[in-house]
Amino acid sequence: MSQPAPFFKTLLARPEAVLLFVLVAELVFFSAVGRNFNTADNFANIVRHSAEIGLLALVMMPIILTGGIDLSVGSLLGLCAVLFGVFTHEWHIATPLAAALTLVVGAAAGGLNGGLITGLRLPPLIVTLGTFSLFRGLAEAITKGTMTYKDFSPAFLALGHERALGLPYQGWLFIAIAVAISVLVHRTTFGRSFQAIGFSPEGARYAGLPVQRRIATTYVLAGFVAALAALVFTARLRQARADAGSGYELQAITAVVLGGTSIFGGVGTVGGTVLGVACVAVLTTGLKLIPAIALQGIGSELGSLLTGALLIFALAGGVLAKSLAARRARRQSLAKPQPQPIT
């Protein structure tokens, strides 16, 4: 149906393919150079340390797909972690109920973002910058800046430490949410509307789509999953602190943009986001296992540095590639075959 193109050309045109290649290269490199990289324990370790950011990236993706952004997810993670501690330790609510309550609070906080953005048509950037400060501030106020909640029930802590079939629990959770978001974005009318809104909010409105409601949905979803990530974080560290998840919003956005989702909206896949998360996770963990770097104890800084640099190159590269492609398309448009009616 579409124009024939060489196999490799179409393959390389997709950012997912590039990422997959980068991921494989990372795995090969670190297996060769890193110490104990290629072990089940290390694999589990990577999963544990990247599940929370991965979850945030998964819900950041639909938001960016609609052309929005949410800077508050990291702060919300901190607030939800602290609230979970308050629910279990000060209100003495049973853990499952406390967890459910935390998820509700997360969704409500996301609803606050969504409500301000769609109700008053405020720019998402500045609204979520405000709630970024507000949520973190509330977490600090509740804990008076220093208090941490410890001694959670063993059953709950298992979420952060146990494995099933070799994969840590939070890994299964990540897969479940990834599948759910992927279905939502690629298999339902919700995803269709996110895409339409990202390309053209006005066009979506003229098609009778519920634009404001769909946008609000993405922020509520982000709040809900941020709360989920807070539970995972608390279980992993065995404690709830006000500074939980600081800076996670940046890493989540990085993973999404690296994963090929256009910051201008409309274009992107959940699979790409998963690959983006994996690339960043393997890079940051793998570096720590290279003896020379481990010796200096600079693995995490180097990992973050490379992530930031990677994001700049991904952004600039995307734009430059696009303008090159546009130039080539202009040259080829003269020789373009004319479409024929389908009969």
Binding site: R192, S200, G203, L209, I342
Partner: protein, 484 residues
């Protein structure tokens, strides 16, 4: 098709020369040629006796040609004086802004045109006509010898119009040549010295205003009989589908619209640009909801507060701006076609790609969309085929009322004929069609009845076999004189 064919036009200093013609007669193309935005394929332009070749916007400005548009392009956050200053001089970045001098010059220029505007006001605080006056002041300050005004009174109140007229007369007295484009005949008779009528890209004639009357002007504008071939009407109108009772919306400038559209009927909605036709369509589709009157669909009153409600009620709207509103260019044809029927085609929000593809293929065949396939992005299609995709999206909703806004604008001749046939077939199948069109032959050839809008309301309700004179006269607000 050429937009302009060998037009001769001259303008004297100290003259107001009116330019008149239907929508699409070539007025804006002529203006673009004069302001250097378009290069003519032939002919000569002389300014002040000197022949000018290769006119660019910058050269036109240097020659003293200025154009005042309906929507002024000013900086709303800056003051009037500053806007004038930014337009008139290229200051280097480190130069000081001489506020006193800027304010003085702004005051002087505004005084010259008799406008009472404080130069210190921010432009956002000004009304549209006041902004136009600022534009005129800019033009004067730039030493304009030729000022072009493109329907300057379209959005003005009576009082503001008189102010503007005084300004135009003032310009004339100062020896400026004014090209004045307007649809309002009374303005032309009140203001202009000469008038040129354009039709189908040709000049029909230039006359001193004193030598002609309104009836002859209308005759010159309409000229020929409907020449294009339109498919014949085959349907007999049935029950009333849509009834409007005194519908209005202050923000859209529409007031007190009452009309009925029947099943199987094509109601043409004629009128000049700015008469409120698209605004009426936007009210019916819930984009700018009505704030007065009743919309009755199949005997039931509907409060159309949003496009979603309109879609659910069975109203479909193929908008005028295809590329911004009609089709999402980056998305596949199939996704575009199914966008308005998500709840029905995809129960439980679950996308069914097979059903979507089948539906898209059906419409691609039925409407003869020329494309590589349902997966091709909307932006890969030609204008006419994009329009068919937009149409398919709304036909898929199985509407009771189809509103078409300029359905064949920017569409090539072949696709235009096809679209006309499709509209006819839909009416025959019992759909109520409300067709907005600025293409007079299209309105006359397609409509069972014609509603003519003027000044935000229905000015006349005419039978489908009306002649062009009658429609044009009603649109211009000269009902009695057309027959003369």
């Amino acid at each position: 098709m050429r937009a302009l064919k060998e037009v001769s036009f001259d303008l004297h200093a100290g003259e107001v020369h009116a330019l008149l013609g239907e929508n699409g007669a070539g007025k804006s193309t002529l203006i673009k040629v004069i302001t250097g935005a378009h290069q003519p394929d032939g002919g000569r332009i002389t300014v002040g006796g000197v022949e000018v070749s290769q006119l660019t916007p910058a050269r036109a400005r240097a020659l003293g040609i200025a154009c005042i548009y309906q929507q002024p392009a000013l900086f709303p956050d800056l003051s009037v004086a500053e806007n004038i200053a930014l337009r008139l001089e290229k200051t280097s970045a480190w130069q000081r802004v001489r506020w006193a001098e800027i304010a003085r010059r702004a005051r002087e220029l505004l005084q010259r045109i008799g406008a009472e505007i404080d130069p210190a006001t921010e432009v956002r605080e000004l009304s549209m006509p006041e902004q136009q006056l600022v534009e005129i002041a800019c033009a004067l300050g730039a030493g304009a010898r030729i000022v072009i005004m493109d329907e300057p009174t379209a959005s003005l109140t009576q009082k503001e119009q008189h102010l503007l007229f005084a300004v135009v007369r003032e310009l004339r007295a100062q020896g400026v040549g004014v090209i004045y484009i307007s649809h309002r005949l009374e303005e032309i008779f009140a203001l202009a010295d000469r008038v040129t009528v354009l039709r189908d890209g040709e000049s029909v004639g230039t006359n001193p205003v004193a030598a002609i009357n309104e009836a002859s002007l209308i005759r010159m504008m309409v000229g020929r009989e409907v020449s294009a071939i339109y498919p014949p009407a085959e349907s007999a109108p049935g029950e009333v589908v849509l009834a409007l009772c005194g519908v209005g919306c202050a923000a859209g400038g529409v007031r007190d619209v009452s009309l009925e559209v029947r099943a199987g009927e094509i109601m043409g909605l004629a009128g000049l640009v700015g008469a409120g036709r698209t605004e009426l369509a936007r009210i019916l589709f819930g984009i700018t909801p009505a704030d007065s009157g009743e919309i009755i669909l199949h005997g039931r009153r509907v409060a159309v507060a949003s496009p979603r409600i309109a879609v659910a009620a069975g109203i479909a709207y193929v908008p005028e701006d295809r590329r911004r509103h009609g089709v999402i260019l980056e998305m596949p044809i199939a996704a575009n076609m199914t966008m308005a029927i998500h709840p029905r085609l995809f129960p439980g929000a679950w996308l069914r790609f097979g059903a979507e593809r089948a539906l898209a293929l059906d419409y691609i065949r039925e409407l003869a969309v020329k494309t590589f396939g349902p997966e091709a992005p909307g932006g890969s299609l030609s204008g006419g085929n994009q329009q068919k995709v937009a149409l398919a999206r709304w036909l898929a909703t199985q509407p009771k009322l189809l509103i078409l806004d300029e359905p064949t604008q920017g569409v090539d001749v072949g696709a235009k004929g096809e679209i006309h046939k499709i509209i006819r077939r839909l009416a025959k199948d019992g759909l109520a069609v409300l067709m907005i069109s600025s293409d007079l032959p299209e309105v006359l050839g397609m409509s069972d009845r014609i509603a003519v809008m003027r000044g935000g309301t229905i000015a006349a309700m005419l039978p489908g076999h009306s002649d062009a004179h009658t429609v044009m006269a009603a649109a211009l607000g000269q009902p009695g004189k057309a027959a003369a």
